[in-house]
């Protein structure tokens, strides 16, 4: 019985509307009051049914819900034979909750779209060597999966055979197709635009990168700020309080109409719903733009940020340095380059990779006694030669003679933003290489936008030499920059700024900088879909896209503003209605219900604006 009534709530709403209009027609056209009253009575009775059942269920678990207030009001109106009011109020309440549901679903749409992108089936290789379609929950790690053109990749894994191009927009936010062949990594939730590939499953379900992203966003939309928790607590006591007030008003004034009007006015709908609605729409907008915001606390902090601290390498710059100049001293010998390349091959330092790429060699020679001198370079031996490869302070440590000419060269290279790699063979400097990292596209414009969004301090930190850091800083017009910093010094720097009462955001690549990311009020990871980045930070910019940063900041500002607007709207409506009841008699029970439902719709529609928010 209950279920039938709930299922047909919409039909009940329509019937109720029809009866009410029939009744008014009866009143005005037929001038038959008995007939019109009869219609209103039926409308009231069927209209109040679903509300009363909900009220009963609430009371059973000792909760005074809005349904309880409305049911009492309707029953009381019925008792004093005010059938018009009881019918209209029930109709408005039902119609209002229908609209609420519709519009709320719209605000939740962005996030729902994301979760619906999760793959549901997979073509799995069975024991008798055939691919059959199975539900995604039947796929386990190690299974061989076939993906055909147009299908979704159902797991994270490695391509074993075949080739094709994949749209990875769901993971990276970048819709340009990426070509995949044997040994390429593919991700769940991405779409194979053309080709056919067989994939060995590494991770399945919620363990996949896409699964983690979805979980994160789904969790984020319900994370609550302090203010929201306060509103929740408040509303728990608010409805019983309204009931009490209405009761005392009736007790002292004996005015039932006034008392039931207060009951209806007291419904706290817009206040409770306003903030979550802004939250879900804001996070939804971010998800669509490749920005993952982990909840409303993050929105609160980020919208008020004073200081944004950037890591240089991999954040402001691409993080893939290239050799810009190679200077030889003395006689230029091919073997010197061979020595340099052979030693750099032993290292996984980004500078070493850059140098290796600039020296096209096929064969290397054997290196002995390799020793890494942390933060300075490498010392090694090849055949009978002693070799050092490293920076200027390595030269000082080993007491290598650096000529005027070399110092001039080093200074010039540093001024141009190069990192220096010096090669010493048997105590003579033979080669100096300048290696430079490229600044990401459009970073300058993005920094400009951040300034316009009223960020006071834009600071860059780097482990590179001060010359390089200053140069980048000047080019980008940052407010501050510091070089020669170790990861723990960066974290210390973040801590100092926080103690200085600044709200600090740290933007880093999420791997080396996790202490700083964790310390800052807002840790922003440039994630190209890496798990560490997703887990340790508060905000993830998908595909390491720096240009999402201004949008992210503007979005959190808009979302925070939207929440405030909704709170103001909700409070103002209650305030005006209360004034209306106290000082005039325009506000009846049905007017109160109308305004109440309208205010809920207004806050939802206001929240929905955030879905369309765009910076430009």
């Amino acid at each position: 019985m209950q279920k039938i009534i709930f299922k047909n709530k919409n039909i009940i709403t329509v019937i109720s509307a029809t009866l009410i209009s029939l009744s008014f027609m009866g009143h005005w056209i037929l001038k038959d009051n008995f007939y019109s009253e009869f219609m209103l009575i039926i409308a009231s009775v069927i209209g109040v049914l679903p509300i009363a059942i909900q009220a009963y269920q609430a009371l059973k678990v000792k909760v005074v819900s809005i349904d309880v207030l409305v049911t009492i009001a309707v029953v009381a109106a019925f008792a004093i034979r005010n059938f018009e009011e009881s019918a209209i109020v029930t109709f408005l309440f039902l119609f209002g909750s229908y609209l609420e549901k519709r519009t709320l679903n719209k605000t939740r749409k962005a996030i729902k779209e994301l979760t619906e992108m999760a793959p549901e089936t997979a073509l799995k290789l069975t024991e008798d060597n055939k691919y059959i379609e199975v539900g995604i929950e039947e796929v386990t790690v190690g299974d061989m999966i076939l993906v055909k053109t147009g299908a979704k990749v159902p797991v994270d894994g490695i391509v074993i055979s075949g080739e094709g191009s994949v749209n990875e927009a769901s993971i990276t936010g970048e819709s340009l197709p990426v070509s995949k062949s044997v040994d390429s990594k593919v991700y769940a939730g991405t779409i194979l635009d053309n080709g056919t590939i067989a994939v060995n499953a590494d991770r399945v379900g919620v363990d996949t990168t896409f699964g983690k992203i979805i979980e994160l966003v789904v969790e984020a939309q319900d994370s609550k700020s302090e203010a929201e928790r306060f509103i929740d607590r408040f509303s728990k006591y608010y409805t019983p309080l309204v009931l009490l007030v209405a009761f005392f008003v009736w007790l002292f004034t004996r005015n039932i109409e006034l008392a039931i009007t207060i009951l209806v006015l007291g419904c706290p709908g817009a206040l409770v719903i306003g903030v979550p609605v802004s939250n879900v729409a804001g996070i939804g907008n971010g998800a669509r733009h490749g920005i993952l915001l982990k909840g409303s606390e993050v929105i609160g902090y980020f919208s008020k940020v004073d200081t944004i601290i950037f890591d240089k390498t991999g954040t402001v710059t691409i993080g893939k340095p290239v050799v810009s100049e190679t200077i030889y001293y003395g006689e230029k010998k091919e073997s010197d380059l061979l020595y340099l390349a052979s030693i750099e091959r032993e290292s996984d330092h980004p500078l070493a990779n850059a140098i290796l790429e600039s020296i096209p060699l096929k064969n290397y020679i054997k290196v002995d006694k390799t020793e890494v001198i942390k933060g300075k370079g490498i010392s090694a031996a090849i055949n009978d030669d002693q070799i050092l490869v490293g920076n200027y302070s390595l030269m000082k440590e080993y007491g290598i003679n650096v000529t005027e000419e070399m110092i001039d060269d080093i200074e010039r290279l540093e001024l141009q933003g190069n990192s220096i790699v010096i090669t010493v063979i048997n105590n003579d400097i033979k080669i100096i290489v300048g290696v430079k990292d490229q600044i990401r596209d459009k970073v300058k414009e993005d920094i400009e936008l951040l300034k316009r969004l009223k960020v006071k301090n834009l600071v860059m930190l780097s482990g590179d030499n001060q010359g390089t850091v200053d140069l980048v800083s000047k080019e980008l017009d940052l407010t501050e920059s510091h070089g020669n910093m170790l990861p723990e010094e960066k974290a210390e720097f973040v801590e100092n700024r926080i103690e200085n009462d600044e709200i600090v955001a740290f933007v880093g690549d999420g791997v080396n900088d996790s202490p700083s990311l964790a310390l800052a009020h807002v840790g922003i990871a440039m994630g190209s879909g890496t798990d560490v980045a997703i887990e340790t930070s508060d905000v993830v910019l998908m595909n390491s896209n720096f240009s999402k940063l201004p949008h992210a900041l503007a979005l959190t500002k808009a979302t925070a503003r939207n929440m405030k607007q909704n709170i103001v709207i909700a409070l103002a409506v209650v305030f005006i209605l209360v004034l209306g009841v106290m000082f005039s008699n325009i506000v009846s029970m049905s007017v109160g219900m109308l305004v109440h439902e309208a205010s809920i719709l207004v806050v939802i529609l206001n929240g929905m604006r955030l879905l369309r928010f765009n910076m430009k």
Binding site: Q57, V61, K62, R108, V218, D222, P276, N279, V280
Partner: protein, 72 residues
Amino acid sequence: MMTKKIFQMETISCPSCIAKIEGALKRLKGIKKYEVLFNSSRVKVEFDETVLSSKEIIDKIEKVGYTVLSEK
């Protein structure tokens, strides 16, 4: 042993639904932690499986008028 479960509900659209579901869960014996998530329409619970089964939890939620779509 404490067990954690997440129930996916039909769309929750009224704020007082949350209070109702919470009210229903509060009175269950063996429940340790519960949280009703409005936007994702989920109920998260932590409970003692020797005292309470997830079916009992679902029954309780459905009794106050909300359909549980799936559990995990």
